[in-house]
Amino acid sequence: MTNMDCKTCKALLWAYCVDDLEKDLLAQVDEHTACCSSCREELDTTTATTRFLHTHMPLLQSDHSFVQETLDKITLTEPASTLKPIIGIILILIIILLIGLLIISPIFISLLWLSANILFTLVQQGALVIKTAPLLQIISGTILTALLFIVLVSIRRLAMRCIA
């Protein structure tokens, strides 16, 4: 009988079967199983079990279409060429300059004046209506809001056209 006890030997049997033991341990298991019938029996079961696992573990094999699909996905998500930081900074400066020019231009000032006048008139009229009755307050408030929205949208469109 060897120095190895049955408990230790049984714990090493799987590793023994899949050739995952160091030489000295391998020799000790060999030695022990040669003279221990219980461990030898366990070794047979373990050998059959590991063989079963390795034989019946499904093995996937991909074909050409897998590679093609993968490469297609890569092409689709390939990052677009990024701008160099210096170009980005120059672009931002140009945009700021353009906005500044637009703000000081006569078109912008006249538009601002027009929209402020319209808003002022509307708010004044709305304040008169609000004083009359609670139901009217809600209705007039809604109409006024809608009107304000329309006016603002119109101003935005007008401004966009001017910029274009």
């Binding site: 019946h56 499904p58 998500t77």
Partner: protein, 181 residues
């Protein structure tokens, strides 16, 4: 690693798509089977493998050296597989008949059916392991990665890798040995 392979990886690291496609050809089955071993579903494994290659391509420029490529690719795959498996278990996704790879058509229907039953038995046994045990077992048992490599990939101590593998083997033995007999 051969010099040719290192060269291909280095070319891929410069963004060369042709070189990267060679790497896809080389590692596709390894990656597919790692994913399959962890998630246990052929369709999911294919999706994971494709995503892993995609992620690898998009960030290959950040790779420190060509030698680390395979380990890095496996790491991406393992992370994606673990995420998928966790998401599936949260959604209670049950394995389907079609989840296994298709059998070779030259075999008799009885043989194919028997083979399928045995494959299901193996997958069911793997499903009864914890995700940590299953991951290390797949990498060691079916992909032949060394304990050290597994420890590096999963960023866990070597002792933990060994104990997880032993626990997984012991549990598999307890599941498979009585079922098979």
């Amino acid at each position: 690693m051969t010099e040719d392979l290192s060269l291909v990886i280095e070319q891929a690291m410069t963004g060369d798509k042709a070189a990267f496609s060679k790497l896809v050809w080389r590692y596709k089955d390894h990656i597919l089977n790692i994913a399959f071993g962890i998630v246990g579903n052929a369709q999911d494994a294919e999706d994971i493998a494709q995503e892993a290659f995609l992620k690898a391509f998009l960030s290959i420029k950040r790779l420190s050296s060509a030698k680390a490529f395979y380990r890095w690719l496996v790491k991406i795959t393992v992370n994606l597989s673990i995420d998928k498996k966790t998401a599936n278990s949260l959604r209670w996704v049950k394995p389907l008949e079609t989840a296994l790879p298709l059998a070779i058509s030259t075999q008799s229907p009885e043989k194919i059916a028997e083979q399928r039953e045995q494959q299901k038995l193996v997958i069911a046994a793997l499903d009864r392991l914890t995700l940590e045990q299953r991951t290390v077992l797949v990498l060691r048992e079916f992909q032949d990665l060394s304990y050290e490599e597994i420890a590096l990939i999963l960023r866990i101590p070597l002792g933990t890798v060994k104990s997880r593998i032993n626990a997984a083997r012991s549990r598999l033995y307890n599941i498979l040995a009585p079922e098979r007999l």
